[in-house]
């Protein structure tokens, strides 16, 4: 960008970089703003929200306990529909978990420096969403005390898991995704944990952050290896994040159920995952930004860029819906054609049209700059998208199973109170963890934000001009 400008206008370059973070921040004000959130007295609002989250978590414990005691019969599953809300919730939570790593890895490789304001809490969101996701396959197997069958551990029967099955690929893909996201997140946290250690006043904080920061000193000989590690983690995570939802989609696509058996599934699922993930980042980010007064770090420009990503991925999702219909007709396969007509006009049409409204129509409003920069409308839209993406997974899973080949095998599926309680309870798990993170760890990557301030450039001088 700077090369295109005449030499006299070099000030322009500094000005655009400064736009990233507003309010004439210095390195110290960044440290102060972010660290003080974790250091001050716990706000009453936090206790209120955390209390609500923990109450929902108890609902989760109760409903999972009831499930273990009685078996999966407590859910609304019936004979054709053997995959109900458990798989819908799993795919939904995993999808939400995609934005964090997209922001930390792909946007890092693409040198999108605005990511530094949102990557930390998006990564935390990813971790907690994947924990919620992993819960569902964990409990839906019914006999969860034999979950070690998933793991390739030597056992008394001498058998091994079936590595040729997509369900096992899924286990490895999501397990790897969680581990890599955790490592990535922690690596990013190390310099900030050192900041908290050096600011610590109480003995408990000194010991805790002293241990967690691993003795980080911020020496350039450390930064050199650190930057390589971070770059490689981003490089490894980029294909990983694209592969995880592709593998999730293989759970469906490798079967012969009409409406599932399509090759468009991997890219379609990945686009949907990023779309829903960004919606959740917006939902959480807008609240955190307001409550903790971070408007100068998460600026309207950041919101604008996130809305644009949602516009792109939302349009890809809409295109996929259209292409599914086209292929269903063009294939000339009557079961395939019926599956899609049944989606739009069958007993689950209500779910289908909620999905179309939230995922196809709502993102199109992001063409307008006014809407992309309006906090209230963005928040509302992000909630709608979260709802729409849940219904997408519901439509795919349930409509296809409830009416596949022979009408004699059809049945209508509806959830029981225990399906609903488990799903609602998973929000308790998510928000309990997320609120703990907001309270005790720096929610913005301080070291990275400092690195994108204009004065972090060694060629910057105080007057705002280049040397």
């Amino acid at each position: 960008m700077a090369e295109a400008l005449p030499l006299k206008n070099e000030k322009m370059h500094v000005a655009t970089e400064a736009d990233l973070i507003t309010g004439n921040q210095t390195f110290h004000t960044i440290t102060e703003n972010i660290s003080s959130i974790t250091e001050g007295k716990t706000p009453k609002l936090w206790f209120l929200l955390w209390g609500m989250a923990v109450s929902l978590l108890l609902v989760l414990f109760g409903s999972v306990g009831f499930l273990v005691w009685n078996g999966t019969g407590v859910w609304g599953l019936n004979n054709p529909v053997g995959w109900g809300w458990a798989i819908v919730n799993f795919v939904w939570w995993v999808g939400i978990g995609h934005a964090g790593t997209l922001i930390s890895a792909i946007l890092f490789l693409l040198r999108q420096r605005w990511r530094t304001s949102i990557n930390r809490f998006a990564e935390a969101m990813t971790l907690f969403a994947v924990i919620c996701a992993l819960l569902f396959p964990g409990i839906h197997i019914g006999r969860m005390w034999v979950i070690y069958y998933f793991f390739p551990v030597p056992n008394q029967m001498g058998v091994w898991p079936n590595f040729r099955s997509p369900l096992l690929w899924d286990f490895f893909a999501v397990g790897t995704y969680f581990t890599v996201s955790l490592l990535f997140w922690y690596t990013g946290l190390i310099p900030d944990l050192a900041t908290l250690r050096d600011r610590a006043k109480t003995r408990l904080r000194k010991l805790t952050f002293g241990a967690l920061a691993l003795g980080w000193r911020g020496g350039n000989r450390q930064w050199q290896h650190y930057e390589i590690a971070y770059l490689v983690l981003a490089g490894l995570s980029t294909p990983l994040v694209l592969s995880v939802h592709s593998v999730v989609s293989s759970d469906f696509a490798t079967s012969i159920v009409p409406g599932w058996h399509t090759t468009i599934f991997p890219p379609y699922f990945v686009a949907g995952a990023i779309y829903s993930g960004f919606a959740m980042v917006l939902t959480l980010g807008l609240i955190a930004r307001k409550v903790y007064h971070l408007e100068h770090i998460i600026t309207l420009n950041h919101l604008d860029k996130m809305a644009k990503i949602m516009l792109v991925t939302g349009s890809m999702v809409g295109y996929s819906y259209a292409m599914e219909f086209f292929i269903a007709w063009y294939s000339g396969n009557q079961y395939e054609a019926f599956a899609f007509i049944n989606r739009a006009f069958g007993p689950y049409a209500w779910a289908y049209w909620i999905m179309i409204f939230c995922n196809v129509i709502v993102p199109q409003f992001f063409w307008f700059k006014k809407i992309r920069r309006s906090v209230g409308l963005l928040f509302f839209a992000s909630i709608l998208v979260n709802i729409g993406m849940w219904f997408e997974r519901f439509v795919i899973t349930v409509t296809s199973l409830s009416r596949d080949y022979l009408p004699s095998a059809w049945d209508y599926y509806s959830p029981t109170i225990w399906d609903i309680a488990t799903f609602v309870g998973s929000f308790g798990l998510f928000f309990t963890l997320f609120l703990l993170f907001l309270r005790f760890l720096p929610m913005i990557a301080m070291a990275e934000v400092k690195g994108v301030l204009p004065q972090a450039d060694p060629h910057y001088t105080a007057g705002g001009t280049h040397e």
């Binding site: 890599v180 350039n220 930064w223 650190y226 490894l236 990983l240 400092k450």
Partner: protein, 179 residues
Amino acid sequence: MSKIHGIIAEFGNPGSLLRAAEKVRDSGFTRWDTYSPFPIHGMDQAMGMKRSKLGFVIGIFAFIGAAVGFGMQSWAHAIAYPQIIAGKPVFAWQAYIVITFAMLVLFGAIGSVFGMLAFNRLPRLNHPVFFSDYFEKTTDDGFFIGIDSQDPKFDPEKTKTLLESLGSGHTELLEGPDE
């Protein structure tokens, strides 16, 4: 028994730290470092550092991960318990690619993080720079040069004069108990 472990000198901003580092490099010091709250562009050259070898280590880890992943699946299905499921051959290498890739990424990521810590000799909670309370500034907004007393060119007085002549602000000898 107190002993001098080294010296730290503060500089005002990334630019002056970079220029001072070039001078310290040219003076022939070897056991020293620059400290900053974030990595500074161009500092590796200014300090005369070689490229990090961490990438090779990660590559080896990733290769081992892929080999372990592919080997585990092939061995389990083709040798340990050959069994035909869903009509797939016992050695269905195409179906093994997904888990092979996942294991490659998993081992590579573990290699990056633990390799980075090993190259940086972390965790290490005691270091001479921590003898200075003022050094806490480095994770906030402080830019320091630190020279180790083990450096053959180190001399408490001369090194201090050199750093001050480069325009350092707070300059402090690191005194701590003898180890």
